[in-house]
Every structure is written in C-alpha cells, then in structure tokens.
Amino acid sequence: MNARPPAIAAWLLERLLDRDSYEAVAGDLDEEFLHQQETRGRSAATRWYWKTAMRSIVVCRITGERRIEQRRMDFDGGGRASVRDLLKPALRQFRDYPVYAVATAGTLALAIGVGAVTMTVVKRAYLDPLPYRDDARLHSLLTFSGALTSAVSPHVLQDLRSSPSPFVEFAGIRPMGFAFAADTFTESISASLVGSEYFSLLGVTPARGRLWTAEERDAVVISWTFWHHSLHGDPNVISRAITLDGRPRTIVGVLPEAFVPPYFATTAVWAPLDMAPLMAEPRARRTLTVLVRRAAHASVDDVNAFLAIFSTNQQQHDPSVFGNLTWIAPLLRDELVGTARPAVLGAGAAALLLLLIVAANIAGLSAAHAAATRHHVAIRSALGATRARLFAEHLIETLVLTLLGSLIGVWIAYLLTQLVVQYQQQFLPRLASIRLDWTTIAAALAAGVLIGLFASLLPRRVLGGQLSDSLRCSRGGSIDRRLARTRSGLVMAQVALALVLLVGAGLLIRTVQHLSTMNLGFNPDNLFVISMNLPAPRYQSNEAQVAFERDVLDRVSRIHGVESATASVGIPIVGGMMAGLAIKGDPAGTAQREIAYLSVAPNFMSNVGATIVAGRGLLPTDIRSSPRVVIINETMARMFWPNGDAVGSQVFIGAGAPSEWITVVGVYGDIRTHGPTEVIRPAAFGSTLQYSWPRRNITVRASENLPLTLATDLRSAVHAIDPAIPAGAVQQFDRLISERTARHRLATIALSLFGSLALVLCAGGLYAVIALASRMRQREYAIRMALGARARDVRWMVFRQALLIAGVGTGAGLAAAVGGTRILNGLLHGVDALDRTIFLTACTVLVAIAGLAAWQPARLAAHVDPVETLKAE
C-alpha cells in the first residue's frame, strides 16, 4: 500500500504529543486516513488528516497541561476551598515565577521602608505634639526688630506679668555656662537659670528627688545625661553637693531621661533664677528667653491683638529704648519645628512620589504576570474553576506577596530609623526621640498591602475578561496590544514622576553646592574654636581678662600644628549678642537701632581671613586707656551710612542713653555671623583690649595635616594657665557651618536617594515594555527587513518607541515639576525654582535612560533573521 499519511503532519504529531496520546491518536488517525482514502480519494484524505491532526494536537496539548495541573493541585471542580487550598497555588506561583515575586515584593519593600521612615520623621517633627503639657497653648515670647527676633528684657517680662494679659503662666530662662569642678578636671557645662514655674509650665516633674522650694537658693535640678555622664550615675545623687562656678550647690532632683527642654537642649543643670540683679540692669538688655502659656479661653488672635497694644504701650513708654521694637508670641511648636518645614515637606512629598512610582511599577509587573499566566487561567476556567475561585486564588497570591513585601519594608524602615537617629541632631530640631512606633508600622503594613493589592488588581480589571478568553488569542493579538498599551501608560507615569523627583533633587543639590561654595566672608578651613567662661571674681576686671587672653594665646600659638590663634567674645557663625546703637548727631527722639556686637582681639579679622573694605583694623595699641574704637561690617555701614561716610563716625553701642562715644575706624567685608543661610545682620566689633566680658572663644587655625592631639593640647594649655577655668568642647568651623546647612542636606539626600531609586525603577519598567513590544513586533521587523529595510532602520524603530514613551512621560513630568517644586521654595538658595539647566538635565537623563533601556531590545531586533522568523510564524 502506497498510502501514507502526510509526513509533516505525522511528524508534528510525534513532536507535539506525549507518548501515550501519540500512540492512541496517531493510530486512530492512520486507521481513519486509510478509510478516508478509500472512500474519498487521496487529496481529500490528506486534507482531512491535516485538519484532524492539528485539532487533536490542540486538544491534547491543552488537556495535557491540564493533566499536569491536576496532578499538581488536586483541583476540584467547584467544591469549597480551604485557605490552605488557596495558599498552595499562590506558593506555586512564586516558585514558577520567581522574578515576578521578587520584583514585586522587593519594590514594595523599598517603597514601604523609605516611606515609613519619612513618615516617622514627619510625624515626629510635625504631627506629634511636643512632649510638654498641653503644647497647643505654649508660646515663645520674642522681641522683634524689623526682620530679626531676639530674647526679652526682664523688665518687659515683669510688665507683662503685672498687666492683665491673655497669658496665665510665664517662665523666664537665662542660659549660662557653669564651671563644674569634677574630680580631676574642670568641666564646662551649660545651665539654665529658671523660676520654678518653668517646670510646671512644661509639665515636667523630676524622675528622682524633687524641685527646689522658694527658700533654697543653692539647690539645683540636673539632667539625666549629666547625672549619668558627669556624676557616673551616682545612686546617692539626691542631696549631693557639687561646686558650680566656685559656689557650692545641692542637687535636689534629676529630670526624666526623656525630657528635652525646648530651648538650650544640652542644659545639664537648672538653678533658681534671681530676678533682682536682672531688674537692676538697664531696660534695654534682653537677657531672658521667655515661654508663656495662653489662657484656655484666649485664642491666638487674642494674643496677637494684645501684644500689638502692649508693644505700642512699651514704645510710647520708653521710645529711646523700645521705639523700634515689638513683641510677638509664636506658638512654641512653630518656633521649634517651623524652620524644618520645607525640608520635611520636601522629603515627605518625595516619598509620596516614590510610592506612586512603585505602585505604577507593581501595576506593570502585575500586568505582565497576568499575561504570562493567562493561558493557565484560561485552562483552569475552561475546566470549571469558577471566577470566584480564580479571583480568591489571585487575591491570596497578591496578599501574601504584598504582606511579605511590606514586612520586609518595615524591617528596612527599622534599619533606616537607626541610621536617622544617629544623625537626627544634625537634621532636625531635637524633639522626642525618633523611633518606629506601632502606629507607623501598622500604617506602613496597611499602606503596603493596599498599594500592592490596588496596583496588582487594577491592571487585571483594565485588561478585563479578555485574559480568560486568551486561549483564542494568538500571539500579537488584541490582548497583547492592549497589555502593551497599559504598560506603556504606566511607564509614562513613572517617567513623569521620576522627572519631578529628579528636578527636586537637582534644585537641592545646586542649593547645597551654592551654600558650600558661598563666600562667608572668612575662611573656615581648619579653623577650630574652644570656648570658656572665666570664673568670677578673679576675672571680673578687664585687666585680668586681657592678661589671661595674652597668656592663653601665647601658649596656644606654640602648640604643634597651630598656625595662628586669636581670641574673641562671640564667634562668627554662632553669633554675638544683640545691642542697641545710637549715632552721634541723630535727631532727638530717634529710636535705638539693633546691631550684633562682638568683642575681638586685634588680630582676629586677619586670622579668620576677613577682608578690610575701608579705614583700618583694630590695633594692639587700641587699649583701655586710649579712646574706644570699633570696626563694623559692610551691611552696617550700608544700612546706617548710605553715603559711605561710616569711618570716623561716633557711635554709642549698648543699652540706655549714650554715655560713651566710640569711633568707627574701619569697615570689613561681611562675615556671615549667623550662618550661610541667614540674613546678614549689621555687626560691630570692638576690641577685647578695651571692653569685654569674662568669656573667651579661642579660635585656632591648624595646619593642613591636623594633629589628633589638638583638642587635648588646647585644653591642657588652658588648664596650665588656670586649672579653675573650664574649657568646653573643641568645635570645628566647617562642622558648625555644615550643621546650619544640615536641613538642606537632609532634603538633598532624601530626594537624591528617592530620585535614583525612581530612575532604576523607570529604567526597569522601560526595558520591560520595550523588550515586550519589540518581541511582539518581530514579525513586522522580519517583513520589513525582507522588503529591504536595513538593521539601522529597525533599530531606530525600537528606539523611537522608547523615546516616545520617555517623551510623553517627560512632558507630563515637566508640567508637574513646574508646579511641584514650589514646595521647596523655602529651601532653595542661589537657584531659581524653575532653573532651566536643571530641568533640561533631568529631561536629558530620562531620555538617555530610555535610550539605554532600548539598547538591548534594539540590538536584538536588528539581528532578526527574516527567514527564520517568518518560517516560525
């Protein structure tokens, strides 16, 4: 018999069926083929054979897969499924699609981790109440002159107390430095002189011991840190006698470990404040930091209205002292955390953007996964699995994944929080300790699961029931196109969001750059400062202070590694004190102006690297017996002598009526006395040789290779001159400055981190979409190449698609960024919120990323072999 079934069809049968099916099916086909050939002729039989063989293959392949499924999942057609039954397929999914599982859980974990930390910081800094009693009614009372705020005169506080006001509690705080005679060393500690109402105002009670009574003038309350570090946790700390500034004091209480005072956070000792000597000082001296509590019935508006009247009264009562001043009482909360607002808001917004990007990414992953598993789903549903059952399985699968991702996220958040805590001091106003609390953990988990569920279920809804009909869809069918469109849309959204992040990061990086290269008016490199208080009564006189200064500079200059040394009272960056200013020749009734006043050694300006603009500097010959002179900064000269005739003018600096005229002998370039981000205040510098206080800051310029012993050597030098003088910590100017710019760096770090994460996610998303799309279009490429298109043309087609997605995303992102960067306005310095270079760079980066992502798919597409591809089709 010459009748043989068509060889190719038979070969296909053998290739595509398993052994059992092949034997039975091919046997039946052969048998029937003979029969057909006899009755209907060879060609009809051949046609029949082809058709029936192909149908058999399809049926057997599908059912074959089903058989494997059945063996694997004990699938019951419609019975009730336990959670276990539903969990099993989920776990199998993770095993079969590990990339999907890891990518989904991983991105979610990252987002949740970063989000939870940001939320913790924002919550602690903004949303949580301050750790003081009824903090919504706590205000800080400030003297306000033009643009600057400062402390309050004790006289003003007394006036306020004795007049009917919307305030019910007052607490004046006088910050001090104390010399604490420790066992071997004299330690410099910070102290606050306060009335006992201070503690009740803040609602703090000692953890050990008690507060002092009105009679106990020598009693002190100490901080937990001081107890543990300086007193080594002495169990008999209560009633222990210590010596502060040569005066014996008794410890009566220790404040709780968690207590952080709103101002002067490092305070170690609180001692009773004696108002009498303060009241003996001139009215103009503003020595008290004042906290007040608003009455329960009063509103913030009442406070403002009252203070407006109060200010007018004070101005009229004492025009020469208070003519230019008003008093304001911002909420303590705004005063403490207000300045960090843009940084925290920026970081929060960035975290939110990142979450959105991650949501889009997960949605993309889920869409791809849905496409990959749709065959499986279709078979299951064809075999009777109900939609509810399939949905339940998918839901469980997603839940497990997102829960897992969120848990890892919380763990990441925990690690990151540890890191933030280490640097907290530099970034944020010191408030309650930052830690991950249960509310945040619960919120993070809930957010993670919600985002995960939403992002992974949504695309399946969009793609809809088509997925289950997909058995009928061939490759490159409508479902694939729709899938590709959905994913392109998601990637465009990611690109847009990433652009906003990048622009924000760029603006902040530029700001930090600007701040770090800004001309501070002096050279902070290798500049160190050590501060000390000169104990009374020995250093009460100016002669004693000058003698000490001479001795200490002499010793310090000889320390190895010290290039030069100078002294001052008050230092740039940390700031001097505020003082009143009168100019000789002022018309009568002119209100006093406000300037910053520092007392410096004659060589101070040249040592810190300030530049002289006019006149001369302070000289060693400007001593107490010669006429008093000052030098002033450019801002002061410009402000009060707009005609440029400052040098030679006579001024009075201090409180009250002019008593001693001082000659302005020189003008120096501005030194940013209050940090690189602040407005420059008018400042005058007198000579320590003529007038000063019993305090010194010794500023030292060290050589390039810093000796490690510098700090010890400096302390020893001071100790050698007078062991009773406590030398504080050695501070580095660079660090003082960087502390002042820390907030910008926090926001910069956050945005850069989030921006890079966003870029990686975008690149991944773009790559996946382009790769999928170019695989789907392979046949088109093949046909084009067969018709003469060059590899270059095909490559360009792939790139064009990537660029299209990036372009649309970038366009949308630009619009969002223009509006969104406004949030950062308060943080930006030296850069426009709409800086063109930065916007352009961000766009370029994203487009370049798109190009990179398309690289490999483009290469593959260009290497398509038209013959092979079309044959395979």
């Binding site: 099916s21 099916v25 046997g27 039946d28 048998e31 149908r55 057997c60």
Partner: protein, 108 residues
C-alpha cells in the same frame, strides 16, 4: 460525590458501551459520527477517555499492533461498574427532568 458527567463524556461512554469488546479510538469516533452526527478529532476522544479513566469510570487495555495503524497498538476501553452507575444516573436525571414534557418530534 462525583461531579456529574458532561454531555460529551456521556456520548463517549455510550459509544464504549455500544461497541462492547471493540471500543477503541477509531471505532468510537465512527460511532459518534454515525449516531450522534458529531465529527470529533481522535485527540478529543482520547483526552476524554483519559479523563474518565482518571476518574475511575473506564478502564483500558492495549491490543496487538496492527499494520493499518502504522504498527501501533489499539487501546480498548470498557466501562467500570462506577462508570455504568454514573451513566445510568445521568440518564435517569435527564429522563426525570424530561418526564411529561413535549419537546417536539424526534428526528430520526
């Protein structure tokens, strides 16, 4: 409780029952074509029988290889008692549901 038989499963099982000792893929196919007017592929019959066998409703044995099958063996099927019961139950259900209903004249 066994899930009920599908219509195609019932038809295949009737075919097996009718053909008695000669029930294998090709004959069942012809039976379905002649009696039920269904032109189905051997693949569909094979996979259905596989499924029925997995559910314990039919058994199969291999016959000798034959020339006309290209040297392949026939695979003969028989109903197991469970299969008969399931088929009877299905039929019974249909009869009960149809009892007293007028569905129009049956085409012969």
């Amino acid at each position: 409780m066994q899930s009920p038989l599908g219509e195609f499963e019932q038809l295949v099982m009737f075919g097996v029952l009718r053909l008695d000792d000669d029930a294998y893929g090709a004959t069942i196919r012809r039976e379905l074509l002649e009696r039920a007017g269904r032109d189905v592929s051997p693949g569909a019959i094979f996979t259905t029988l596989e499924r029925l066998e997995a559910r314990g409703l039919v058994t199969s044995t291999y016959g000798e290889p034959t020339q006309e099958r290209g040297g392949r063996r026939k695979r003969f099927y028989r109903l197991r008692p469970e299969g008969r019961r399931a088929l009877a139950a299905s039929l019974h259900t249909i009869r009960r549901m149809a009892r007293g209903l007028e569905l129009g004249e049956e085409r012969s």
